[in-house]
């Protein structure tokens, strides 16, 4: 597949890794923000190609992980209503709320449906006018334009039975909060390539200036990430701090202007609570007043359920890069993808799940199984 396979080339990947190894002279802590990038790093075992001086920590770039507990609970509450069809991306289905998750809600009789695109949710609303269709609109800036388009179309068609339950978050304010923390160890950032495809890089230039931090906008394939790391290490070793675009085949400095315009028309910035991190001002999106008719929060009297996070779960520390999943006492023991304690273990993009699935310490599987007796 063009523009995909080339960026999985083993020879180039190894050459980049070798180059990084030759150039690095001291330890550096780098963070990749996007869950999709975390997924690639784990799935391809990239860490094993890098010299020991490079430490990769995983940031809060998983919208599933950062969707507040209350929001998941609201979605579940809606799904449990007999007149509501709750439509969601697959990612959200197993994220634990305070008591249960959407998957269990579906088992209990809730009308929960999984789609690939918000336009599919719109189609459900058109075809089933008796159903109140609520789309669980989670995501970062990349997914905001598609959600905006869905709302616009619903509005234009006068589709009264289509609404969004919005839980959008913005990356730069979260990164700023993270970098301001006295516990921050990150020295270089790999910025999310698809978010920046939509938003452009201006907010990252501001971060770079404020924190004198090198930032490279990276893609999602192994070669992309290795090249982004190589560019970061080069800057760090030279004491530079600038924003570079590694993913230049997709990212333009200004981003996608028509998508941005649509988002501004439909959404406005608001404060948002990030699961595991807390409330970050001006870090989320909500529907504008003129689209109130399609805002599930306004349409349904949803209780403000306030649920404390379980103390065992160190998701907050993992999401902000202070700890790694294997540092957690519950990792792989009480907390596994089948029995997750927090969102990062459920979401396929969550750091904990990715670690567990692809790279968990082999000692977690050390019990000998099926004794040799009886083998023919």
């Amino acid at each position: 597949m063009k523009y995909l396979d080339e960026y999985r080339d083993a020879r180039i990947a190894r050459a980049l890794a070798a180059k990084i190894a030759r150039f690095v002279t001291r330890p550096w802590v780098l963070m990749e923000i996007c869950g999709g990038q975390t997924h690639t790093l784990m799935r391809y075992g990239i860490a094993s190609l890098l010299p020991p001086e490079i430490e990769l920590v995983h940031g809060p770039g998983c919208p599933v992980c950062v969707t507040p507990l209350e929001m998941v609970d609201k979605a579940i509450a809606l799904a449990s209503r007999p007149d509501v069809t709750l439509v969601s991306y697959g990612d959200m289905l197993r994220v634990p709320g305070s008591a249960t998750d959407l998957w269990h809600a579906k088992a209990a009789g809730g009308d929960v449906r999984v789609v690939y695109s918000p336009l599919d949710a719109l189609e459900i609303a058109r075809r089933e006018p008796a159903r109140q269709v609520v789309f669980f609109a989670i995501g970062f800036e990349t997914t905001a334009p598609p959600h905006a388009m869905a709302v616009c179309q619903a509005h234009r068609e006068g589709l009264a039975n289509f609404a969004l339950l919005v839980s959008h978050v913005l990356v730069p304010p979260a990164m700023r909060a993270l970098l301001l923390s006295p516990r921050n160890r990150v020295q270089g950032l790999i910025a999310p390539g698809h978010v920046c495809t939509v938003t452009g890089v201006r907010d990252y230039e501001a971060l770079c200036t404020e924190f004198h931090m090198p930032i490279v906008v990276g893609g999602f394939e192994p070669v992309d990430l290795l090249e982004a790391i190589e560019l970061l290490v080069t800057q760090l070793e030279r004491g530079r701090a600038a924003v570079e675009i590694q993913y230049s085949r997709s990212v333009r400095e200004t981003g996608n202007l028509s998508a941005q315009t649509l988002v501004r028309d439909v959404f406005e910035i608001c404060d948002r609570k990030w699961r595991g991190i807390g409330s970050i001002p001006q870090s989320g999106l909500r529907l504008r007043e003129k689209y109130a008719a399609h805002d599930a929060e306004r349409l349904f009297a949803l209780e403000e359920i306030s649920a404390p996070e379980p103390p065992e779960c160190i998701a907050a520390e993992v999401l902000q890069g202070w700890k790694k999943p294997p540092d957690c006492s519950a990792f792989g023991l009480g907390c596994t993808p089948e029995n997750p304690m927090g969102a990062p273990m459920v979401s396929s993009e969550g750091a904990c799940a990715a670690y567990y699935r692809y790279q968990r310490p082999r000692s977690l599987n050390s019990a000998p199984l099926g004794a040799a007796a009886g083998k023919g």
């Binding site: 991306y89 249960t100 269990h104 979401s347 692809y358 599987n365 099926g370 009886g374």
Partner: protein
Amino acid sequence: MNAKKLECVQEVPREQEDAPAVPSLDALSCPLPLPAGKTILLGHGSGGRLSGDLVRQLFLPAFRSPALARLDDQAIVRINGVRLAFTTDSFVVKPLFFPGGSIGSLAVHGTVNDLAMGGAQPLFLSVAFILEEGLPMETLARVIESMRRAAEEAGVEIVTGDTKVVEKGSGDGLFINTTGIGLVPEGVLLSANRARPGDFILASGTLGDHGIAILALREGLLFESSIESDSAALHTLVSAMLRAASAPSLPSQALRCLRDPTRGGLSSALNEIAASSGVGMELEEASIPIREEVRGACELLGLDPLYVANEGKLIAIAAPEAAQPVLAAMRAHPLGRNAQIIGRVTDAQPGLVTLRTTLGTSRIVDMLAGDQLPRIC
């Protein structure tokens, strides 16, 4: 009867634990109580870890049968000196008709294949229908015709059956259960607990075709060349493989185990065998055959083809000396043209299936909890 034959009847049941042992959440005083295990979930039917849990925690202790405890695709029992293979399967696929087949042909192929994975010559099937009130008669007729054709091509006879009708709203239109019996020749010993370090892992062809064909219908994906379900009866392929593996120059029972990777895909099949045999496995990503269309669909939806269902493919574990002859026999058969050696059984980390990526790095091929879901992240 010699000791080996006795094994077929009364295999001492061993712990079918797959790893790792998980302490209960209560023990850790986890304040996040997920009601895991209170109700049946869709995931319990997906062939992954949840399905396995259901079998181990509920069915095995209740039914207490050594044959059952081996957890192969079929049970091999001995009656009056004859080795009978016996299997049952239920089919709940939606949509009922798809490129390459229907729920009917799937039912026939699935049961024939479960018998074939035990080395049996499939002979007779029963078929039981659960029909939803209001199902068009024409739909049922099409399904029956599809079954008839599949059974005829496979050389099996449908000899008995049953029909029940449930109220509108209680079923998905049509469910089918098929039960099959066949005869296993003496000396054929195929079981999930027989894999040994050094053995080769073979796949009979491209993986993920069936699951993607079904998903494509639901997602409105069009294929340039039409992707069809690979649903097929594999028993003649198995016969050819057994013949090749029984060449006099080869050690006895050089073909250790066969599995058809249906729900849960390649990953579930291999993880089960690894757990059952107490061995590790290492796969070679570059060797795993996957069609371009399947790859494209998986990339788009964020799915891993190793977890996607197949209905006309098998995985074989073969002794090192037998790998090439068996591979040749597979490739000579119409259903095995794209057969490949995809990995080896190891003694490192028993129960763990790993993969050497195209970059030369390593990762785990984990057992999924439930169904694989498309993702946007």
